[in-house]
């Protein structure tokens, strides 16, 4: 890895977000509720993996960064590392994250930093991800009693990881306050249309204030990395 300038930390943070969420979505392959969702979830996972590869390559060697860093060196927010849970849980995670990511990339695309070109391309993909998450939030929220209960449960369970999205990222020149405002308004309006309630609890836990960005993660993350990195680490120096 090159020196930890703010620009590199920014690329690493956003790259890790995309890498980790892509991995989680990849776990859905072969398990989705309908074939159309096999296609959609893999599609989103692939877009994210593509973003991760560009971002990590700005920092160093993509494979070295993905496969040879330990848990404490990853900069992704804790939200994206949360296990998939049921389909509603996954959709809640997608809704929170894609809404954030779209707003973030819109801001970055308007700037003149090193991330602007990537953001300009990725924002189109992310708008599709956000639309997908919103459509499912509406269907599940305003579908059956069971789907409504599950969707609300997913939203509630992940709420405590959303505050971290608005911790400023050095090197991005994105002001988190208007980002938070726009995010809160967007989520509020979608949940309202879906007949769901905006969760009431705190948007951070004792350990979650900017924690992922500082390399403090939740327990499931280490296990995820063990699986992801195992083969690569078993053959040091090999090319694939």
């Amino acid at each position: 890895m090159k020196t930890e300038t703010p620009a590199f930390v920014a690329a690493l943070s956003l790259g890790d977000d995309a890498l980790v969420l892509s991995h989680r979505l990849g776990e859905w392959a072969g398990h989705a509720p309908v074939l159309e969702e096999e296609v959609a979830l893999a599609n989103i996972a692939l877009d994210l993996l593509g973003q991760a590869r560009v971002l990590l390559s700005l920092v160093g060697d993509e494979d070295e960064l993905a496969y040879l860093r330990e848990e404490r060196a990853f900069r992704n927010v804790q939200l994206v590392e949360q296990p998939n849970g049921d389909f509603a849980h996954t959709i809640a995670r997608q809704l929170y994250f894609s809404t954030y990511q779209e707003l973030m990339y819109e801001q970055l695309a308007q700037g003149d930093g090193p991330l602007a070109p990537l953001a300009a391309k990725a924002v189109k993909e992310v708008a599709y991800h956000r639309d997908h998450a919103e459509q499912w939030t509406l269907r599940l929220g305003d579908g059956t009693e069971e789907s409504r209960t599950r969707m609300q449960r997913g939203l509630d369970a992940l709420w405590r990881y959303t505050g971290e999205l608005f911790a400023p990222i050095e090197g991005t020149q994105v002001d988190p306050a208007p980002l938070r405002e726009a995010w809160t308004a967007r989520i509020g309006s979608v949940l309202d249309r879906a007949t769901l309630t905006v969760p009431q609890g705190p948007q951070r836990g004792a350990w979650t204030a900017g924690a992922g960005r500082q390399g403090l993660h939740t327990e499931p993350f280490g296990r995820m990395l063990a699986e992801m990195q195992h083969l690569h680490r078993s053959h040091p120096g090999a090319t694939w």
């Binding site: 776990e27 069971e146 120096g237």
Partner: protein, 316 residues
Amino acid sequence: MTTIAPDEEALAAVFEAAVAADERIEPRDWMPEGYRSSLVRQIAQHAHSEIIGMQPEANWITRAPSLRRKAILMAKVQDEAGHGLYLYSAAETLGVSREELLDKLHSGRQKYSSIFNYPTLTWADVGAIGWLVDGAAITNQVPLCRCSYGPYARAMVRVCKEESFHQRQGYELLLALSQGTPAQHAMAQDAVDRWWWPSLMMFGPPDDESAHSAQSMAWKIKRHSNDELRQRFVDICVPQAEALGLTLPDPDLAWDPEREHWNFGPIDWDEFRDVLKGNGPCNGQRITQRRTAHENGAWVREAAAAYAAKHGEDKR
């Protein structure tokens, strides 16, 4: 047996003439009941194979050893879901529904390709599947692009294009391993050793034991016999294996200058029948995962249906 009404006899003559002239049969055309049911069986089994076939490969998505390989594998598994969708659509033009067919898959009343009952034990298996399993599938499917039933033939054109891309990527994966470290080379050889014979079984039983072959060929659903296609596949693979720097696990493999084909050893048909009967290494696991995904997804499908019913009018 009921007697065929005169107008039906005329329709049958039109059908026979169209098949003889290599014209395409389309969904609204009259067709013999046997032709329809044969196609439903074959297309459904093909669609099911795409869906079940996602599992052995998806098994390695989370462990793919580089981000490039991971992207390729994810794209491939996604394509397979897409192929399943095309094929279910093609089957639906014959008057069955996807739900009906999935139900038959889940209850074991319809089959999928027996190859997917073998486990993916190492990363190299992903390459062996791409090269051998997709290679065998392509050998089978390219002639289906000229199948007499239009919707199936057109689905095959799209599927084959994507499938050949996967096959080259699988081959390239194996090549990288074969030319890599000694441990990687050994991994590649081991995978080829385990996937070679099951791939040859993908062409189905020998011609003299193939129940549906003669009729399918007369209807131009099939264009070549199982043994013909199997031989074609072996002839293609032998030089490819050599280029890979890997061997094929068959001591009887030898060039026959008279036939101008590669001779190969006997296939273990007992194993084939055993896997077909449900006793393969992963039969239970594959169908259980498929059924579980479907059952766990029931509430999602119900929610989508309920939402559509509520918002049907203002959907636009």
